[in-house]
């Protein structure tokens, strides 16, 4: 089972937990990526997320499906935020469930690592000294 979302409203950890829970699963692993107040030593005021929605959702589904197969997961929920985010807001939640705990950890980490490589979502960071798109320039 796979649940993918890309929303401009706050993400909900319990919603993801309910989706992945199942009587056959002993291990649930979650990753929550929050907006930090500092990046590379600079104070961040807020962030703006841009997304190519239909392709982002496709790529998120691909990653969730690959994780399910590779780690024998029961369910994967992958929710990403877009729009304007404040410090402390959750930008992404990954939730996975599995019979045992080791594949749950490995599968959850795989999903967030892959998301950061391929999903067409872009972060613009606003700092006191200006703003810039992250990872864009050398």
């Amino acid at each position: 089972m796979i649940d993918v979302a890309l929303r401009d409203t706050p993400l909900n950890l319990d919603e993801c937990a309910r989706f992945v829970s199942h009587p056959s699963c002993g291990g649930l692993c979650f990753f929550v990526g929050n907006i930090r107040d500092l990046n590379l030593g600079q104070t961040v005021t807020h962030l703006e997320f841009d997304a190519y929605d239909p392709m982002a959702i496709r790529e998120m589904r691909k990653i969730a499906g690959a994780a399910r197969e590779r780690f024998d997961l029961y369910a994967v929920a992958l929710h990403h935020r877009k729009g304007d985010l404040a410090i402390g807001d959750a930008a992404v939640i990954v939730a996975v469930s599995s019979v045992h705990r080791a594949p749950a950890f490995a599968g959850c980490e795989f999903v967030i690592d892959e998301l950061k490589k391929t999903v067409p979502i872009w972060k613009k960071e606003f700092r006191e000294d200006g703003s810039h798109w992250l990872n864009a320039r050398p």
Partner: protein, 78 residues
């Protein structure tokens, strides 16, 4: 042909899309070269990809009429 831009590519193009003539029949590799020629700042990025119909396009793919083309600068989600 209309090419949609996101993230820093939108700032480089000066809007949510740009127009490049005579792209139909070209390969994705050709398209990238022509994009850099028209918008040199794209060449200053770490990298950029092209999505064709919502999927990452390989350099050797040939662009057809009606394709949805999107410039994908380095992603930074999560």
């Amino acid at each position: 042909m209309k090419i949609t831009c996101f993230g820093i590519a939108r700032e480089i193009a000066g809007g949510p899309s740009l127009d490049l003539p005579g792209v139909e029949g070209a390969t994705v590799a050709d398209l990238k070269h022509r994009l850099i020629a028209a918008y040199p700042a794209l060449g200053e990025l770490i990298s950029f990809a092209v999505a064709r119909n919502e999927v990452y396009a390989r350099d050797e793919e040939v662009i057809a009429v009606g394709d949805e083309l999107v410039i994908i600068p380095p992603v930074s989600g999560g």
